[in-house]
Symmetry: C2
Subunit: 409 residues, 2 copies
């Protein structure tokens, strides 16, 4: 079990209270002992909501529940537990999600469909829902506006550090706040890497506009990261707008009035997505991969992901080896248009291979120094077109094998 925070960990930022959101964390004893493992989040009446979820074809029951609830566009409460993912649990698992939402709705005085639920942890075991519902009255009494840090800690499974981000943005003449927390990626149990993220703002934004912003923002942040190519069954990002701030009216379709808000939301998503990669299982290095010159942005993204998911590239970086040959291999295996003889590769800003061959006499000294650092930059130029993409990943180390090769029982 990792007892040390990841070497890539960031300090937890202080999140100021946000009008319309109260939180409470507590211990329901679902799997962990002696720590908080459940979070209740309360949202003011009239809060709108947007969400993006795993594309895994075998999603967990909480994801099914949230997808259905999202159709209403309204949110009053969120219940999150750690230690049991409620995935591959059949009809009983669906009943657990519904029972949880009903219990929270009764306490909040809202409809069950205004309650969102999320669970991560072990797969295929029934979640003891009575422990969860028994904790909710206590949590309701403990709700407070200043509990963001405790909330970030309560949703951790085997994360090595809590993850949060905050920004302000202008909407018209008013300033609004965006607070977010996330969990993901450290595992010692027989689980799969799972990612959860909850973001709230006091802005008043219709759910259609909110969803558009979130879907667009996730594309270049959470959906541009990978730890090990294994898409979880539980991935969930929810964005709530409490509408407590006073600002110019935002139309349903969004538009220019949200330009600065979109910028700030993008920064929050980016910071939280990278925090998850920083806590990638066994991660010792954070890797940024920029691919340019591709025939399209989609093609660039697929090539960047092929590099980011290549075990040979990731182990080379773990070994601090600037092995550009493996990057060439990963470009070629992506199945996207690529011309070996136009291809160039840089590591740490030094172009080591250009136009299909090694750069004669390039200076290895700065590359060696770069490889010893915590943050590694890879650039690939395909020389074909104008498609660009950036993705982030971490290295593949003995720590990953230790964490995931341990016995389940």
């Amino acid at each position: 079990m990792p007892t040390q925070p990841s070497p890539l960990a960031l300090p937890l930022p202080a999140l100021a209270p946000l009008a319309g959101v109260r939180l409470a964390a507590g211990a329901a004893g679902i799997r962990y002992k002696g720590r908080d493992d459940v979070l209740l989040m309360e949202l003011a009446p009239g809060s709108s909501v947007a969400g993006v979820f795993t594309r895994n074809q075998c999603p967990g029951a909480p994801v099914d529940w949230c997808r259905a609830a999202l159709a209403g566009g309204r949110a009053r409460a969120v219940v999150v537990n750690a230690g049991n993912a409620n995935v591959f649990t059949g009809k009983a698992g669906a009943a657990v999600a519904r029972t949880t939402a009903e219990a929270a709705a009764k306490l909040a005085g809202c409809k069950p469909r205004e309650v969102f639920v999320a669970s991560t942890g072990v797969i295929g075991e029934q979640l003891p829902v009575e422990r969860l519902t028994a904790a909710l009255p206590r949590l309701t009494k403990a709700l407070a506006a200043d509990a963001w840090g405790n909330a970030a800690r309560a949703i951790m499974t085997t994360d090595t550090f809590p993850k949060a981000a905050t920004r302000t943005a202008r909407i018209g003449e008013a300033t609004v706040t965006i607070n977010g927390i996330a969990k993901g990626s450290g595992m010692i149990a027989p689980d799969m890497a799972t990612m959860l993220c909850f973001i709230a703002t006091d802005a008043k934004i219709p759910s259609a506009a909110l969803q558009k912003l979130l879907s667009r923002g996730a594309r270049s942040t959470f959906n541009a990261t990978t730890v090990d190519s294994d898409t979880s069954t539980s991935d969930t990002v929810l964005l709530f707008a409490t509408g407590q701030a006073r600002h110019a009216r935002v139309p349903a379709e969004g538009g220019p009035v949200l330009r600065d808000f979109a910028r700030a939301l993008g920064e929050v998503l980016h910071e939280l997505a990278l925090a998850v990669v920083r806590d990638g299982e066994g991660a010792q290095k954070l890797i940024r991969i920029d691919v340019g010159g591709a025939v399209s942005a989609n093609s660039a993204k697929r090539i960047a992901m092929a590099i980011a998911n290549s075990p040979l590239v990731k182990t080379a970086i773990a070994g601090e080896d600037a092995n550009w040959g493996r990057i060439v291999m990963a470009v070629g295996k992506a199945g996207e248009p690529a011309d070996r003889d136009r291809l160039s590769v840089a590591i740490g800003g030094v172009w080591m291979a250009r136009n299909g061959g090694v750069v004669a006499g390039y200076d290895e000294t700065p590359v060696v120094a770069h490889m010893r650092g915590r943050e590694i930059a890879i650039e690939v130029d395909l020389g074909l077109g104008r498609g660009r993409a950036t993705v982030w990943t971490c290295d593949l180390t003995h720590g990953y094998i230790d964490i995931n090769g341990s016995y389940r029982s």
Copy 2:
């Protein structure tokens, strides 16, 4: 550097001489010291040839050369070196392949386009072709029919054991022989896993028919295996038919007369492909994955490959953990049609999850014993259609990180 053979290694079978093929192995000192690193294979006049190559978009110069040479359908010689892949070496690398073929052609008294070349090893370094061509006259003098074992050893890079297979087949009333050697998958250098396979038969089969057999055979053997999802830039399988055996005439399109030959060729390909997986970097366990009930065979193959390439599934097996939850995750992330509630998973023949939930009270004892063995069987039934596929892989262990995370210099 691995000094022990893989725990999954098989003994080298004795390969009888095959009419029309002579071989010689020698030391050219291209990278390794004190061991053979070059193979010359001579084929009788009139030998036909078929080949399948890497689908990597950045192939090595030898692959380019072989693809062009294959158009002629004739082969008289093969030159293979270990230690330098001649990949991403630009025009100079193409010249190296041509110079090698020209030198061998002069000695064999044939056209350069009847010479096939293959190289594996380090990427991006110029191959010292003069060392290779200097070795060829010696090798020509040393050619012998009984050197298959030495040949299998000479083409190894960091393989931990030599790989060969042999079968006989009936064509009409005659018996023909198929001999094959392969290399692949153990690496300590900064290279990528690369796979080479050379098969010869004394049968007289037109190149069109030969190509059809090889392409079909590779699909369910070499193309159904994966060690780490990283497609090499050098993968090459070449099949030569010397035509020295006397049997019923085989038409250009092949047909029923080749039924038994196709069976035997399939067995040779299967044995060699699995030998490469058995020598997968760091491999401790050989894993067979059978997917059934998919909407099509292609869909089944993609799902099987998603399981085979999942780091979480592979590390769980390394840890002898029958973690079926990760198999469910891998099925779901494949992007193919799947219905969580119809999905069933078995390990070692024991169905642990059925129709979307865990099988209550399944017997864990045989599963635990199975996981401790060297060969692991995973079965997945999607319950949707009749598509089936089988793929093979190995586990992901600390050995893989050790081998691939070592410094290049």
